[in-house]
């Protein structure tokens, strides 16, 4: 028995454990139907053991593969093709997910972790639906482990003599982002399974109560933000290392991760409607299933090779398995929804489109429309080839052209929606609420939009872009709308609690964490659009230029002086050569000074990597070398100056430089901060939320505080409906929330005071409560 075969057996055992979990859960529910609670419990206990065993075994398999990487065991083909002796330790670790088999193994590990988390939280909180949800995740995981074992076994060994050295990780993957981007993206991507599993479990149990809504909402939020951060990290990686000056290329791999995220965003809004009003139940189940199916479909697209050609699909076995699995999931999910359609009756309906619900519903269509447009663009070449036999390709311009209107609609809705009341908006209210944001937006045209447009368009001969102008206007409106909501909310809170304005403003997000967490994300969306608009519409891209030493290349307001070549003093072992050019950044003829007071220089470089593990056959020069261009970027709030070294001739003293000036890119990364902090506010648990930021108040009011925090978030049944008054404006909402909290406090105080168990009759005799008449004189109570 060798170490690699141990890994293989661990995987087989993990597969068995996952299947055991699914089987035991099914048996448990069969026993429940036979009204045998003891056996039901017994089987559920067994199923839980299955999840734990599967997790431990998968972890062991992962540990084995990691050990193989760390010990440079090149007899294993996967290690040989992804690692080499000279590879730094961190990259030996991240080479784990550098190829098909290992990344699928990581998938199984992450999915197993999710199954474990769901099972454990189910036991902790006594969730009836958790075992079924766990079984769904285990089922999906079983498929992936099966795939690894059959089709992409990372433990397969090479026969014959042991290769002296490995092939090494692809140079493009030798980047710090490699350590963090794929795992993050995987946690987000695979996280789509959890809300889906809870939806399936709820369908099976017929339980779509408030607890389910809250549970699924929290899991979805976590998944959603992790997936978002993962996608953004991919963008940063591409931007910082690939040297083509952009962060998003509408590549099928990127689209595959974007589509589930778009659907999850829609779901996060529509699940709110189910929580508040008990509507859109079917729609929600469909959405959450769609996000899962899209995540599997995306994996299928990117791993089978179908997006590039149907021919390679026929060669690739892995695609066929995915297709079968996808079909099973699809039929099972929609069959179940059809069977259980009676459980999914809405408790109310949307009365008016001019309401919070109405805008959220429209927003849902827009998100879904964008998803379908992206999906269609991604698979259209495949469909076309299958039908026509010739190959076509969809260019990036399709996505930019089609997704832009959806983006602008979303931006508009993100500002309008929060201004509208639940159920219906009274015209008077509407005018009152839209007044301030409209004035802000109108004032923003001369104060913000026009100067920014002028600044951005100037290097492009004053190019006009209606889309960009619309986007900037909508962003200002969005800021006005969200700002006025915060202002009004703080004022209303101030009236009820006598805090000063600032502490009211700060306490506001904690009073209703969902509402204000959401608003913070909406603000982030505005900033995100500023960055997107600036960097996509007003990007400056120069053709590669040949520069001699001392020559100056102007771009935008800057000019770059080529000041010679730089080479590192100590070459890292995996490199053959590393040449950088020093480009001094100048503005108005003077070199810019960096933080250290020295002239600021950018050093884009070209690294040449050794490709180890193969013999140079000599037919082609430089066959065992790989080139990687590393761009250099100067970032500030206004723009990124982005330089890539394309080629050089040290003897002649020339270098070919490609320069970009990407406006406002920084705002995209700032927006991500807003997305994360808004989501964190939404996720603060109740017991923490009440402790943070206690306002200074009298003692009785301090006791009120924890209850106030809970209003609208917690409680049995649809407590929020009691708080929601049709057409109520925000300030009324906030006053009602506080009033309800006070009433509840009184109620609970009343409960705490010792209840009188006796009563006294006029005649002086003491009677028990349950006695309705006096035992002495017969007088009624």
């Amino acid at each position: 028995m060798t170490l690699p075969s141990f890994g293989h057996y661990f995987l087989l055992a993990a597969l068995a454990a996952s299947i055991f979990n699914v089987g035991a859960t099914i048996f448990a529910f069969l026993e429940k139907n036979r009204r045998d609670p003891a056996k039901h419990k017994q089987f559920l206990g067994l199923a839980e053991h299955g999840v734990h065993a599967a997790w431990i075994l998968t972890a062991c398999a992962c540990a084995v593969l990691m050990t193989l990487f760390l010990t440079d065991n090149f007899s294993v083909q996967y290690v040989w093709s992804n690692s080499s002796r000279a590879q730094p330790l961190l990259y030996k670790i991240s080479a784990f997910w550098g190829g098909q088999g290992g990344s699928l193994l990581m998938w199984a590990g992450v999915q197993g972790t999710y199954a474990l988390l769901v099972a454990n939280s189910g036991r902790k909180h006594n969730l009836v639906i958790a075992p079924a949800a766990t079984a769904v995740i285990s089922f999906v995981n079983a498929f992936f482990i099966l795939l690894i074992v059959w089709q992409a076994n990372p433990f397969a060994t090479i026969e014959g003599p042991l290769p002296p050295d490995g092939f090494g990780l692809n140079p493009l993957l030798l980047n710090p982002w490699m350590q963090i981007h794929p795992p993050t993206l995987y946690f987000g991507y695979i996280g789509c399974t959890v809300p889906f599993a809870f939806a399936i479990a709820a369908l099976l149990h017929g339980r779509f109560d408030q607890q389910w809504v809250e549970l699924v909402r929290r899991w979805t939020l976590v998944t959603w933000i992790i997936l978002f951060v993962g996608i953004v990290m991919g963008g940063i990686w591409a931007y910082e290392t690939l040297g083509w000056g952009g962060y998003w290329a509408w590549d099928p791999v990127e689209n595959a991760s974007l589509m589930p995220w778009l659907v999850l965003t829609a779901f996060l809004h529509s699940i709110m409607l189910q929580g508040r009003r008990g509507i859109l139940k079917t729609w929600n189940v469909v959405l959450v299933s769609l996000s899962f199916l899209l995540s599997i479909f995306g994996t299928f697209l990117t791993r089978s090779g179908i997006v590039s050609s149907v021919h390679s699909f026929a060669e690739s076995d892995i695609g066929g398995y995915f297709l079968v699995f996808l079909g099973i999931c699809f039929l099972f999910t929609f069959g179940l929804i059809w069977l259980k359609r009676d459980e999914l009756h809405d408790e109310a309906q949307i009365n008016s489109m001019v309401s919070r619900e109405g805008t959220m519903l429209i927003g849902n269509w827009v998100w879904l429309g964008a998803t379908l447009a992206v999906l269609f663009g991604t698979i259209y070449p495949t469909i076309y080839e299958a039908m026509q036999g010739t190959r076509i390709t969809v260019e990036q311009s399709y996505f930019n052209q089609v997704v832009t209107p959806f983006g602008l609609l979303i931006l508009a809705l993100a500002g309008i929606g929060p201004l509208l009341a639940w159920q219906k908006s009274k015209p008077v209210e509407l005018i009152r609420k839209f007044r301030a944001p409209m004035w802000v937006a109108i004032a923003g045209i001369p104060l913000f939009c026009a100067p920014l447009m002028y600044y951005l368009a100037k290097p492009h001969a004053d190019k006009w872009s209606t889309g960009a102008a619309t986007a900037l206007f909508l962003v200002v409106f969005l800021f006005g709308a969200i700002g006025s909501e915060f202002w009004r909310g703080a004022k209303a809170r101030q009236r009820s609690t006598n805090e000063n304005f600032l502490s009211a403003l700060l306490a506001l997000p904690l009073q209703n964490r969902r509402r204000y967490g959401g608003y913070i994300v909406h603000l982030g969306l505005g900033l995100f659009f500023i960055g997107l608009t600036g960097s996509s519409v007003f990007k400056i891209e120069l053709e590669p230029r040949d520069l001699k030493i001392g020559e100056v290349l102007p771009i935008g307001e800057y000019s770059l002086r080529f000041d010679g070549f730089r080479r590192p003093e100590k070459m890292p072992p995996q490199l053959v050569s590393d040449v950088a050019v020093q480009m001094t950044v100048m503005k108005n003829g003077q070199p810019l000074l960096g933080r250290d007071g020295k002239p600021l220089a950018l050093l884009p470089n070209i690294e040449i990597f050794k490709v180890t593990g193969i013999e140079n056959t000599g037919t082609m020069p430089n066959q065992n070398e790989q080139t990687a261009r590393r761009p250099a970027i100067m970032t500030n709030l206004a723009h990124d100056l982005y330089l890539a070294l394309i080629g050089y001739d040290m003897e002649q003293g020339t270098a070919t430089i490609k320069a970009y000036l990407n406006p406002l890119v920084m705002w995209i990364w700032i927006a991500v901060g807003f997305f994360i902090s808004g989501t964190v506010v939404c996720l603060i648990p109740d017991h923490l939320g009440s402790r943070v930021l206690q306002p200074r108040r009298s003692k009785s009011e301090l006791e009120l505080q924890p209850l106030e925090e809970q209003v609208g978030v917690n409680g049995n049944g649809r407590s929020q409906d009691k708080v929601t008054v049709a057409g109520a404006s925000l300030d009324q909402d906030i006053e009602i929330e506080i009033a309800v909290a006070r009433a509840r406090l009184k109620q609970s105080q009343a409960k705490q005071t010792p209840v009188q168990t006796t009563w006294q009759c006029k005649c002086g005799r003491t009677m028990q409560n349950e006695d309705r008449f006096c035992g002495n004189c017969g007088t009624p109570r």
Partner: protein
Amino acid sequence: MSSPRNNKNKKLVFGSVVLLGAFGLLVAGGMQSSTLKAIPVGELLAKEAQAQTQTLVGQRLRVVGFVGHEPVRRVVDDSSNADGGAGSTQYFIVHDKDKKITVEYRDALPETFKAGSPVQVDGVYYESGKLRADRVLTKCPSKYQAEEVDKATSDMKSKKDKSYDKTQSSPEKTGEKLSLAPQKSTS
């Protein structure tokens, strides 16, 4: 059925038709201006030989083939740019066995651009046998397909991994597996 309900249904149907129509128009419009025919070099020239391709000259195409072994010819512009530095045009051969076309390109060639590597060039087929490219993409370096590895190990036999043997492919086949864009990393 009561009339308000009927009215509501009518509105709903009408609304959906309008929305779907708008969506369809948007997508179709986008598609019309953004799709490119992909055609291997051999096929392009074979069609030309049959004198069918008068229509293809002047069209925007994606031509698929392999980078020729002839060195890339680089012609630096005579006059320096008004604002500094000199641009240049690169000429290279894209071939499919003995069929060849010349491609001219002014932007930076990808890092993985090497003689013999599969390549796709997008641009205007402005003259018979000549293409002015605005984008050049080489085979994605993602290891999921791992062509380089496959080629390098074609004589090494693996024990258990069946898929590994099956993904091994001849250059002709890999030529058909060109991806749409340089795929990043793993995901």
